[in-house]
Symmetry: C2
DNA sequence: TTTTTTTGTGAATTGATATTCAAAAATAAT
DNA sequence: ATTATTTTTGAATATCAATTCACAAAAAAA
């Protein structure tokens, strides 16, 4: 039986991440992805059903590790809800810091894709959200947090995060991301009013 | 000289708002917009340069009235910074409450468009942002607000707002929007911690 | 070595849809 | 009524790019 020469599957998805980040999904051409990955156009269709399928696999790659982090954090009894909340933010920031192109794809493509293909979109994202909400609820139960509307709060925070990541990807340095991270934590915890 | 029969220009942009909201910009077909507006395909190209041009004009329509509101609010000396901040949020919420399809176009298309066509994107948005930042800065100067990073704060808040509007557009009732509005104001002012 | 199976290729096909433009229709001017 | 001007039309054109597939090359099996 013939062995695969090199790892074309990986080369393709990495080329796709770069290309989607650069040009956006709709303007990205399969030809360009093939060139960047050093494979023939046809090879792409050996490893992926179609262009959409590549994007869906990218989102699996984005959210699976973050969800795994979350599970670990959420189940650790030695953390307070506030600490868990901060670690949750850290796990998102850390993931995107390592691979800014994934952050670009996330901020630009996730919403459209979730709307267009709700069935096929990665489950790991939904699971991540669930764990996040659990953390907030436990903080409310223990009176560490205010009794705010959890769904509204988590959407607001994730939306804000996404927007900041979007800005960050234009100049993705470690320093600027840390500044964003600290500001978000501080603001979420204490709000805007000075008292 | 022949007079225009009816207002095709307006019919076209309104049909386009509906269509873009429903299908997203890339999947929207000029043919469908023409049908919805009850005009021939060719007429669209009489009033607009191309498909992109329609979208750009929609964003003018979205941000001009909001910016005008903002100017009025920002220059009114009888409001405190906190009041101005709340009125600023109200002006965004009110605008989209009146025309939810515009909210859909805003949440789905603005970022991509600003990235792809930064030169042609409506100036009113940038002006709106500037007025908003001025309000925050004046609150910091008067020690009513904490000394937070203004750019990070305004991105976070606008990102959060957009995400909540996105959710709201799935079921755009007055009641649910008011709930979001109150939650956002409360959260922005005082944060998550219960003390 | 020969055969079989798996993997890789890219020119050709297919489908889609934005845009054009020559002609027609509607109105105004003479 | 005739001509001139403006507005409208939609079939035809042009462009673009995703996907296919018949074939080739490489490796494994016989």
């Amino acid at each position: 039986m013939r062995h695969k020469e090199g790892n074309k599957e990986k080369a393709i998805i990495e080329a796709a991440i770069e290309t989607f980040a650069e040009d956006g999904f709709y303007k990205s051409k399969i030809v360009d992805i093939a060139e960047k990955a050093n494979v023939a156009i046809g090879s792409i269709y050996v490893y992926y059903k179609n262009k959409d399928d590549i994007l869906l696999k990218i989102f699996d790659q984005i959210w699976e590790p973050i969800y795994n982090d979350m599970k670990r954090i959420a189940s650790d009894k030695s953390y307070t809800p506030t600490q868990k909340f901060e670690f949750m933010l850290d796990s998102v920031f850390d993931a995107f810091e390592k691979y800014p192109e994934k952050a670009v794809v996330f901020v630009n493509e996730q919403n459209r894709l979730m709307k267009e293909r709700p069935k096929s979109f990665t489950n790991y994202y939904e699971l991540f959200i669930k764990e996040g909400e659990k953390i907030i609820k436990s903080g409310i139960r223990s009176s560490e947090f205010k009794n705010l509307n959890v769904r509204i709060f988590r959407r607001f925070v994730l939306g804000g995060l996404r927007e900041l990541l979007r800005e960050w990807t234009k100049n993705p340095t470690k320093r600027s991301l840390n500044q964003i991270r600290d500001s978000v934590k501080y603001f979420c915890k204490t709000g805007i009013l000075d008292k």
